[in-house]
């Protein structure tokens, strides 16, 4: 206990260098744990995006690409499927439900998704939670639009506001479907998934704004349809969907059904299992994750090396102190214990401050990160990974403490009671 008391008082005496050392270790530990938290948060947030969907079906192409544009609102779809093909599969006996998606348009940078009431009925996220409305109702008429929670809050839209849809996906499209304004009829509850950042219309609505756009360009003058003309139509024929989500009656049929869809001869199409595709995606990102983790581990090592340097360089001016301790009866081993203990105290203080810093930053940064990148990082008490990291940092501090300690040991033996230079 005397040695601990000495170590603490000695560190307090060198308050400036002690706080610098603790600060640099704390920052590096905060980085290590912070990166780990963001990583876990990202992984969870990604795999929570979709739940209970057995297959995602779209035009033939890359599996990850299909997952990205259908679930995460990233990248562009390559091709559409015909409505007839979709209906044919929707009637398949092994399929319990489907959610059709018509993609390709946007509103001020947010993806517009054409779907139908099946979305509100069957879409599930984070362990089976259903989509819920915060205000209004689910869109069902041609020009109804339901907004994701973030879209509504960031653009300041309320029920009854008019929304224009831009052709294509981008912040500023120059091809606007501006003669076809939609009206906000509902706003969804926050889900902390890409659903919050999407705009939902009906499949009929998607068809309506594309009247005359069959060749991909705006309609020629005179060929345009007006809002009123569309409303006067009895029924709007839906011609295509981009992709659809599938829930099976029996999950054992998933693989067989996937093969069946992939082999379909009517149209080139493919089905992916979301969990597998997510895993495949993470494997690609895994290298980056490992790299990032390595970098943060090295940052922690650099922080600890800073401590080593600071302890080591202080040794010369502490030779008197060591001689005094020897004179009152300290063995060279007590000198080693003193320095190792100082090192452990610095590392432990750094680790604890770093942990505190992570939680401070997380609670301050959580809403910002969520608003800026739509990533929800959960804050939870430190888990086994965090304790493992902290334990590793303190152990590394312990081991590194032996470098200055053994130097002091040799000096103490050599100096004895006189300080020889």
């Amino acid at each position: 206990m005397l040695v601990l008391d000495l170590a603490l008082k000695s560190l307090r005496n060198r308050a400036f260098s002690t706080s610098l050392t603790v600060g640099s270790i704390a920052l590096s530990v905060a980085l290590l744990i912070g990166v780990e938290n963001v990583r876990v948060g990202m992984r969870e947030s990604f795999s929570n995006t979709i739940s209970q969907t057995d297959l995602i079906v779209g035009a033939k192409g890359g599996t990850i690409q299909l997952l990205l544009y259908s679930v995460f609102g990233m990248g562009s779809p390559t091709n559409n499927l015909s409505w007839d093909t979709y209906r044919e599969w929707a009637e398949h006996p092994a399929i319990e439900w489907t959610i059709p998606y018509g993609l390709g348009d946007s509103h001020r940078g947010y993806r517009v998704i054409g779907t139908n009431e099946d979305f509100y009925r069957h879409y599930r996220y984070r362990g089976g939670q259903a989509i819920a409305l915060a205000e209004g109702r689910a869109g069902s008429e041609v020009f109804d639009v339901t907004l994701g929670a973030d879209v509504a809050s960031e653009l300041g839209y309320g029920l009854g506001d008019a929304v224009e849809v831009t052709h294509g996906i981008g912040e500023v499209g120059f091809l606007n479907h501006d003669q076809m304004p939609f009206t906000v009829v509902g706003i969804l509850d926050k889900t902390f998934t890409p659903v919050d950042r999407a705009v939902y219309v009906t499949l009929e609505g998607i068809e309506a704004i594309h009247f005359g756009w069959e060749d991909g360009a705006p309609p020629m003058p005179g060929d345009e349809h007006t809002h009123e003309e569309v409303l006067a139509m009895d029924e709007i024929e839906i011609t295509q969907v981009t992709s659809f989500f599938v829930g099976t009656t029996n999950r054992r049929d998933v693989l067989r059904l996937q093969r069946e869809i992939n082999d379909y001869e009517g149209e080139p199409m493919m089905a992916v299992i979301p969990g597998l595709a997510l895993n495949e995606m993470w494997q690609g990102i895994g290298y980056a994750e490992t790299g990032l983790r390595l970098v943060t581990i090295f940052v922690v090592l650099v922080g600890l090396l800073g401590m080593l340097v600071s302890l080591y360089t202080s040794l010369n001016e502490r030779r008197r102190e060591m001689a005094i301790l020897r004179a009152v009866g300290s063995g060279p081993r007590s000198i080693v214990a003193l320095l190792v203990l100082e090192s452990v105290c610095l590392a432990a203080a750094g680790a604890i401050c770093g942990l505190g810093l992570v939680y401070a930053l997380l609670s301050a940064g959580q809403p910002i990160v969520e608003a800026q990148v739509g990533l929800f990082i959960p804050i939870r008490p430190p888990g086994s990974v965090e304790w493992l990291f902290l334990g590793a940092v303190v152990s590394a501090g312990f081991l590194m403490g032996f470098v200055p300690a053994l130097k002091a040991y040799r000096t103490a033996l050599h100096d004895g009671l006189a300080v020889r230079v």
Binding site: L6, K9, N13, R14, A327, V328, G329, G416, L417, A418
Partner: protein, 230 residues
């Protein structure tokens, strides 16, 4: 004169650093218990090295170093450290104090480090004993001060208190007065003598300054006893 009445009994001591030249070569040196010994010699005569050997920090290469009847040459390093903690109080020439401890913590350090020193406080508490010693050495008002605010003379008195706490049998002082001016030297020595007498301790006082010689009961000229001195 029995062996137990000798505080220090050195026989055939030889010591050198590593494989360098002999620094100490002392065929015989004895000090009786309760002696106030004045050990003098010019620089290079091995004064500090001899004190290191007597305190058990340095291990002799040859010969016997009996301190209070124990041959330090036959003890392990750890045993010698424990022996020093229990039986020897040490005062350096200067920079005696640990800068990050208060005056009180500096004085009580040996008693906190060694249970036997603590046991010899005659039932009084560590702090009370330290305060009493500080009063005797006229620094009772400095106990709570950081050591960096003390004058050199005050620091040496704190060091003396630390050496004396827990009544070790031997006080070793390595030129403790050389950084003081003459009047303060005598005052310091008188206080030190009084405390050694009170505790019945043997004082081994090293100096190159022979003006103080008259105050001691025994004088040892190191160049005379150390054949390796030059």
């Amino acid at each position: 004169m029995g062996a137990m009445s000798l505080a220090i009994d050195v026989r055939g001591l030889r010591f050198r650093y590593g494989s360098g030249p002999w620094v100490l070569d002392i065929p015989e040196l004895t000090l009786e218990r309760g002696t106030r010994a004045f050990l003098f010699g010019p620089s290079g005569s091995g004064k500090t090295t001899l004190l290191g050997v007597l305190a058990g920090v340095l291990k002799p290469d040859e010969g016997e170093v009996n301190v209070l009847g124990r041959d330090l040459a036959s003890l392990s390093g750890a045993r010698r450290d424990a022996f020093r903690a229990e039986h020897i109080g040490y005062v350096f020439q200067m920079f005696n104090l640990i800068p990050y401890l208060s005056v009180l913590d500096n004085i009580t350090l040996p008693a906190r480090m060694n249970a036997k020193r603590r046991a010899r406080l005659d039932g009084a508490g560590v702090k009370e004993t330290a305060a009493l010693l500080a009063d005797h050495l006229q620094i009772g008002d400095l106990l709570r001060k950081p050591v960096t605010e003390l004058s050199v003379g005050q620091q040496q008195r704190v060091a003396a208190c630390r050496a004396l706490i827990g009544s070790p049998e031997i006080i070793v002082a390595d030129e403790p007065t050389s950084s003081l001016d003459f009047d303060r030297r005598e005052a310091f020595l008188e206080l030190l003598f009084a405390e050694c007498e009170r505790a019945g301790a043997t004082l081994v006082f090293v100096s190159h300054d022979r003006t103080l010689e008259g105050m001691f009961s025994r004088t040892v000229s190191l160049p005379d006893v150390n054949k390796a001195a030059f």
